[in-house]
């Protein structure tokens, strides 16, 4: 390494060390300021924590509804209930005929015995099934439309099935699935809007706290500037302060949602059990927790950045 390169490397190390020391001091200073006003800081953190907890709770709810829709799969299956007089042979013939249609992918035949066994397996239905003198369930054909079929094509298939003389009732599962998807999409949008609005509120809360802090420390800022502090040095403690508030609020939001989860866990478990375990109630994943904390930190930093930019430009 040449002497010039060695010197350049030394200068870089020195500057990096200086930068690191200044940041460490600013971080300590901002923590000191947060701790110095325990009540004010706690209120700011609590307000922001609740504001962040609301969209997070909605997100959790939405994630579980999405689990449900995922568990249902993306099929547009149609259940065809045959008339009670239809026997096994007629049901098998009809199934075979349907398989030849170009708009049908698969057809599964479910016997009355299979239907009764399924019903008996569901919680609360066991005794009722035992009490039945005979099996009242009809043969059912589970018809899967051809992959890629549009809603109109499926509806046309449903109409054709309804028109068949052997058919008693046709249940179009895709219809309520489409409604559920629309509801989930609406919920997703509402959650996003709520997150944006409450995120903005959090930014304003932190911004106002930092603004008041800057005004309260105007004398100190003036001294720092007279002693040669750069604008970024003066601003840095307030950015750290905002980030600290944000992180603490993120932790509060996560704790609130975890408490909510714990409180709701028992009734939801009972509900899930009543659906014979087909539903699953999931909590917040570690990735979601980490993302929440990171977003809260960035929101706090952003609030402080806006407030400090405006306030320090005036000093």
């Amino acid at each position: 390494m040449s002497a010039r390169a060695a010197m350049a490397s030394q200068v870089r190390r020195t500057r990096l060390g200086m930068w690191r020391r200044q940041h460490a001091w600013c971080l300590r200073d901002s923590l000191r300021q947060v701790v110095r006003r325990p009540l004010g800081s706690a209120l700011t953190i609590a307000v922001m924590g609740i504001a962040l907890a609301l969209p997070l709770a909605f997100y959790l709810l939405l994630a579980n509804v999405q689990h449900l829709t995922a568990a249902l799969g993306d099929s547009q299956a149609v259940s065809v209930f045959l008339k009670s007089g239809q026997g096994a042979e007629q049901a098998a013939t009809l199934a075979q005929n349907l398989r030849t249609r170009s708009d049908v992918a698969t057809v599964a035949l479910r016997t009355p015995q299979q239907g009764l066994a399924e019903l008996a397996a569901m919680q609360g239905f066991g005794d009722a099934v035992q009490a039945l003198p005979d099996n009242p369930l009809p043969f059912v054909l589970l018809v899967d439309p051809r992959a890629g079929s549009s809603r109109a094509q499926v509806e046309s298939l449903v109409e054709a099935l309804r028109a068949m003389p052997q058919v008693d009732q046709v249940q179009d599962n895709g219809q309520w699935r489409a409604r559920l998807d629309a509801l989930v999409a609406l919920g997703r949008r509402v959650t996003l809007l709520l997150a944006i609005l409450l995120g903005a509120a959090a930014v304003l809360v932190i911004g106002n706290t930092v603004r008041l802090d800057i005004r309260g420390r105007a004398g100190e800022i003036a001294v720092q500037q007279l002693l040669g502090a750069s604008p970024s040095f003066v601003r840095r403690p307030y950015l750290y302060e905002g980030a600290c508030y944000g992180l603490a609020a993120g932790i509060v939001a996560v704790l609130l949602v975890l408490v909510l989860e714990a409180v709701l866990a028992a009734p939801v478990r009972d509900l899930v059990a009543s659906y014979a375990g087909r539903l699953h109630f999931g909590g917040l994943s570690s990735a979601t927790l980490a993302a929440t904390l990171a977003i809260a930190l960035v929101l706090g930093w952003l609030g402080a950045w806006i407030a400090s930019s405006r306030q320090l430009a005036r000093s």
């Binding site: 020391r21 003036a222 001294v223 720092q224 007279l226 002693l227 040669g228 502090a229």
Partner: protein
């Protein structure tokens, strides 16, 4: 070290604070700027620290023309100047040591060296061992000493002081001035604004006299009586 060449300063409201000021200060020199209230002493110090910009003329400090100094270079200039204020401007919620260390933190000095420099500065002003004290518990004279310790901790080659003895009794004023003399002996250039004429006579240093923004007299140290 400092060169004023036909410097004027007019405030936005139209008041002429300094008019056609020309003088220079050599390295290692101690200079008093005196005059009645409103003569322009504080404005002169503010121009040196780039707190104010001149309306005309040129000012050189450490070879840098302050009229051409970019806004972003001002902090660097101020880090090379130790400033002492009449009202001390100490941070009352920090310890004495934290106050003295502030310019060192701003300059990014490592912690160990910072501690050593703070100890050294406090020793120089006679406040050794008082680093943990709160400034609010110190007397006015001691607070001014902390202000001086803060100004010298960064080892600046230039120290400017605005009425550093303004609130002090004669004995304390004398003590503070002896401190400045000791600093001068170490090679620092010192510029002090003061209207305390008896004190100036006792100090026997060069004196620049201002009146309504005009430099009306520049008395060499040997001529002060």
């Amino acid at each position: 070290m400092i060169r004023f060449d036909s410097v004027s300063k007019r405030y936005p409201e139209g008041r002429e604070a300094l008019i056609d000021l020309t003088f220079h200060v050599d390295p290692g020199e101690m200079l008093f700027v005196t005059g009645h209230s409103g003569a322009g002493k504080t404005t002169l110090l503010k121009l040196i620290a780039s707190i104010e910009r001149p309306s005309g003329g040129s000012i050189e400090v450490h070879g840098r023309n302050l009229a051409r100094l970019r806004r972003r270079d001002i902090p660097r200039l101020r880090r090379d100047i130790g400033m002492v204020f009449q009202d001390h401007r100490l941070l009352m919620d920090r310890s004495v040591a934290d106050n003295v260390a502030l310019p060192l933190v701003i300059a990014g000095i490592p912690r160990e060296e910072r501690a050593s420099r703070v100890r050294g500065a406090l020793e120089k002003v006679g406040l050794a061992g008082r680093g943990r004290d709160a400034p609010v518990g110190l007397s006015t004279g001691e607070q001014q000493r902390v202000g001086i310790a803060r100004a010298i901790a960064g080892r600046p080659s230039l120290i400017i002081a605005d009425e550093p003895t303004g609130n002090l009794d004669p004995q304390l004023s004398e003590e503070i001035m002896q401190l400045f003399l000791a600093l001068k002996a170490t090679g620092s250039t010192i510029l002090i604004a003061s209207h305390d004429l008896p004190l100036l006579k006792r100090m026997k240093q060069r004196v620049v006299v201002l009146d309504h923004g005009h430099l009306i007299d520049d008395v060499a140290a040997r001529e002060v009586a």
